[in-house]
Symmetry: C2
Subunit: 391 residues, 2 copies
């Protein structure tokens, strides 16, 4: 696996900090929102004397409560249709390992979450990207474009909804289009819904699990990492009605024995977080999104779609090369003792050269930090030597 463009930047960020420059991290998906008190209290009050293995599919009480929480939002599943995984990461890996043989293909819109590549490498499967474009706000590519990519080796379509890195929220209509080709070609539909709770502006999330007539084809990939700002507990889930997939995935689950036990305790208790927790989180993110989208679109030559979900946006900048720009920001630039770290979009595209003038920005900082970061970015774009002519 090649090193990601973000990771290559880390030494430059460290060097900038050593020189006393304040670096605003717009590059990472680590929210600063507190973990629910309910989750933390559960371990503060732990009354176990042995931290034993749990069931390979996860503790049954946790799975029952999780299933109940899905049913409350209109996803009709039973606890036996859930396998608790070590983060959403393992859910993706299990889906690949279970549903595809080495050499087979999974189609996904690009730009896409870079770590899918790592799991594809591990599983020996090939990711086939279909391009989505900033000019269309990263909507689902025309369904004919997706269908063109289907070969005898295609086994699945993978979406991330709401999308990391673009923040795009797929509509019910787009999901129906996907259902039709999934049904027609008898493919799996892997739906990564870890940002489900982060939908803005009155939009509601439509889950792939709610699609009629393809229950055996849909595999939902989930995680508590972002929902409860507890990325470090490493608890996710693979959810499907397909018994054959569940049974095969459980074998991989048994091989790694069990998902983290203490993490399951925290995740289970986090389900008790009151509605106010989410209202607070929601209000904070929507304010951050609105602030950042406004600020970016005010910068000459910049285009930022208004994402309806997650906490990322992929932005078009008036620059020659986002890898170079991101490095320059850390190595050669500072403004009032500050700079910003962004994720070059090249890391989210499979197609060489795609996204060269785009970066992903995660709005996981407080508004006042975002304000400083945006001022700094605006100044950087003004003086960057590789700035392209304004259109």
């Amino acid at each position: 696996m090649p090193a990601s463009p973000i990771r290559k930047l880390v030494p430059f960020a460290e060097e900038a900090k050593r020189k006393g420059v304040k670096v605003y991290h717009l590059n990472i998906g680590q929210p600063d929102i507190p973990t629910p008190k309910e989750g933390l209290d559960a371990i503060r009050n732990i009354n176990l004397s042995v931290l034993e293995y749990t069931h390979s599919a996860g503790n049954e009480p946790y799975r029952r409560k999780l299933a109940e929480s899905y049913r409350k939002i209109g996803i009709d599943v039973d606890h036996n249709e859930i396998i608790v995984t070590t983060g959403g990461s393992e859910a993706v890996l299990f889906a690949f390992m279970t549903c595809l043989n080495p050499g087979e293909e999974v189609i996904t819109p690009e730009p896409f979450y870079a770590n899918y590549n790592g799991f594809a490498t591990t599983a020996g499967v090939t990711i086939v990207p279909v391009r989505s474009y900033v000019k269309n706000d990263f909507a689902l590519p025309p369904i004919e474009e997706i269908e063109k990519k289907i070969t005898s080796k295609t086994r699945a379509i993978l979406i991330c909804n709401p999308n990391n890195p673009t923040g795009y929220l797929y509509s019910k209509e787009e999901l129906h289009q996907l259902r039709d080709i999934v049904k027609k070609h008898d493919l799996f539909l892997f739906s990564d819904e870890v940002y489900r709770e982060f939908c803005y502006g009155g939009e509601t999330h439509f889950s792939a699990m709610q699609l009629d007539g393809i229950g055996e084809n849909v595999i939902m990939l989930d995680s508590v990492s972002k929902r409860y700002s507890e990325c470090g507990v490493r608890i996710g889930a693979l959810v499907t009605k397909n018994q054959e997939v569940l049974s095969a995935a459980l074998k991989f689950g048994q091989a790694r024995l069990c998902p983290p036990g203490v993490g399951q305790i925290i995740a289970e208790a986090s389900l008790d977080a009151p509605k106010e927790y989410f209202t607070g989180v929601y209000n904070e993110y929507i304010a951050r999104r609105d602030f950042i989208v406004d600020a970016l679109n005010k910068m000459p030559g910049v285009y930022c779609p208004k994402p309806k979900g997650a906490f990322y946006t992929v932005v078009k900048l008036p620059i020659d090369d986002s890898d170079k720009f991101a490095k320059w920001l850390l190595q050669d630039f500072s403004y009032k003792g500050q700079t910003v770290m962004v994720a070059p979009a090249s890391g989210f595209y499979f197609t060489p050269g795609a996204g060269r003038d785009e970066v992903r920005i995660a709005y996981v900082l407080k508004i006042e930090d975002l304000r400083n970061a945006m001022d700094t970015l605006a100044e950087a774009l003004r003086v960057y030597p590789g700035r392209t002519t304004l259109e």
Copy 2:
């Protein structure tokens, strides 16, 4: 992956319990020893408000303290030579993925830990077993037998020391023999040392990391699961001096983001467990081992080697087929309202038919329970219809 012989037995054990029969579990490696208070207190007193991602290689303070603990027992490593993994399981997987290409081979003495098969499947690599025998107490097979198995596809030799399932502790001499062929053929030596602290009768553990002249070849696989009776925290480690392996393994580590954060907090604090914790554990296990080995060898037709490590033993029984016997114990037999569940050794052998008259017994129960279990097993062997003629 086929279902393991132990897992196939689970429904029969559940049925026996439903009928009111007490089942003594000699089949599993879940110790009943308490987790160190230091580990549990660390989470009871947790003062984090966000459970963030940790470093992909694990928290640096934990790695530093872990390296220090290795140095104290004569394993000279630096914290940069450690990648913290999600259990020992992931350390095995990372070693396979990093050092072998799909289709390449790893040689290991059989019987071997059944889950190695699962990781081999995931990594697309082939396990090549070399038979060890109960009549030799499962000593390392003659080095010529191992060498015979080396082909152009062989990349590594894998040992588990002390051994699960046999309890065999490899001697310094045996490790030197392994070093010589590893060096001669430039192979990796994967050394699973998760039972390192469980060595009995004055024997000391000699680590593969202590072998001279093959520092670049050795990869130690480790875990806190058994050491601190905290299997559920899912914290292990891959340890090596080989920078290329570390760098490749870290890429897999980055793809799955990080090992469990709360687990690392518990594991780090567990390193502060006082000497008395281990003395207590050690005394308990040695008493259990001595009790069970004596009891088994007193049963007519039974041969139980005296294991020097771990908390398992593979025992030869006067029976036709251990899969049948294990099922019969749960389905058709009880003595004073009790029965036992054992692990048929077939699950630990690759060679078809091998180990048919052997079972693995884990001595992870209190002596009084082991006494009842042994009485029950003795009676079972007396009346089992598939009993073979005594030799």
